[in-house]
Amino acid sequence: MKPARKSDRQRLSPSGQQSVLHLVALREHSLLSLFELSNGLSVELDVYGITDLALFNLMGHMGTVQAGLWLRTDAGPGDLVLIRSHGLRRELAAALGGVLAAQLKADIPLDHPCTVESGDLLPSVRALAEQSKVAVLAPVLVGGKTVGVVVLGPRASGLPYSDLDLQLLRASLSMVGSSIENARLYNQLQEQNRRLMLANDELRGANELRNQFLQNVNHELRTPLTIIIGFMDCLLQAPGMDARQRGYVESSMEEATKLKGMIQSLLEFSEATQNRLPIHAGEFDVVALMGSYHRGRRPGIAGGLRELVLESQPGPLKARADAARFIGVVESVVENSVKFTPVGSRIAIAVDDVTDDQGRWVRVGVADDGPGIPKEHLPRLLEPFRQVDGSTTRAVGGMGLGLASAAQLMQLMGGRIEVQSELGRGTLVELLLPRV
């Protein structure tokens, strides 16, 4: 009998061949996943977009229905904010973020992906990870520093995460880390540009205040001057003055009248130069306008680890108003949301159309999930705190419109503002514009 050839000795059974083919298919799948992530990240410039891209990719790459990503904030060293989680209970995800932050603060390095069984983890992290059915924890590293943490659930196939899987995860998160860093730098740049524009607006505002001051001074000077002129006139009408006295009064009268004329000129100049910003009403598509606003504003807000989303009804939805002034109103409302919500919050702009007993409207809602406004403060929100006479100065920074001024502007454009809020649930500001 001839000895068996080497290839015959190594021939696999049919089930063995199946396993090898399955393994090859999984490896190909992994490679394609890495390529896709790399391509996708190269065009994404927003922390939330990057997170979605990363988690969708990792879930489909590793075959798990659970995933979450936290990022470190600037608020406190080691603090982590949950950016997204899937398949994890909300309260468990929040608690997990807390213990992961504790691990980072305790200087127990999480510098490479590890399974929950094998990692060097705080007991609290291990306990919560097991309770949340998390199988793998991995750092998002930038320049050797941990800027975030990713967790993944067990694989649906039941296969454990191999060393190669953990290396693939490391490679994926290395790309994600670089993208997040780039996004943050880009967002900072966008934010600086926006602040420059705001500073420009502030300067314009200061100019307005100067005009207002000038007007006030004029009024303050004119009133006593009118009284002086009036009494001098009485003196001139009255008998009993000698020629010299009359000469003095007439000279005083002449100078006072000149002074009054000069003040009048100053007043006219001040009124002429004051930017009264008339309303230029025109028709525009609110859906398109808000789309462009969202694209411009989202990166800056995402840079501060808050998410700005646009949930718009299909357009066009046309309204008649001053588009530039309306954007100013939207900006001041969004700015308020950013100011009064913690990091990790979500601010949603919704555009739709509504009809009520007052007419047909295009409605732009700005909703946040922040702390909300106490009920007793709601009625005062839209009261003007800055009178037209300028006796009080701006109370709110940024665009400085304030909700009260925004309400006045909306009214001037034939629309209105409505505010609803619930403590602990968030605030919804609705801007209604007359629909065309």
């Binding site: 799948h29 879930m59 489909g60 075959g63 649906a156």
Partner: protein, 116 residues
């Protein structure tokens, strides 16, 4: 992001919307698909995604389908996937994820199951 996925809204019924997909479900088209499904989510209706015209399902595409299923589950509704090609189904089966996604052989079958 430029993408290769065409989404056509087909005639649904009182409880269920139907979207017919043609092209690739991947990282580029994920947000477009989620945005189209959002309208059904907001309206609190079931959804059938007809995948007959889907030629490629990437890892990110799989992740997108999983997240969509989770979002519909959260509001007590269902998203079903109909008429997926062997290629699409094999991508899901490779990862043993078929138990997390409701697949049906045809759009009609998916709608019948939802109505039941």
């Amino acid at each position: 992001m430029a993408h290769d996925l065409v989404i056509e809204r087909a005639q649904g019924d009182s409880t269920c919307d139907v979207l017919r997909l043609t092209g690739r479900i991947d990282a580029r088209s994920a947000s477009h698909l989620i945005e189209e499904c959002r309208q059904t989510l907001v309206a609190g209706r079931h959804l059938v995604l007809n995948l007959a015209g889907v030629t490629f399902l990437s890892s990110s595409g799989i992740g997108t389908l999983l997240v969509l299923s989770e979002r519909f589950d959260e509001i007590g509704k269902t998203v079903s996937f109909a008429s997926a090609s062997d290629l699409v189904r094999s991508s899901i089966e490779l990862l043993s994820l078929e138990t997390f996604l409701r697949f049906h052989d045809s759009e009609d079958e998916a709608r019948r199951k939802l109505a039941a």
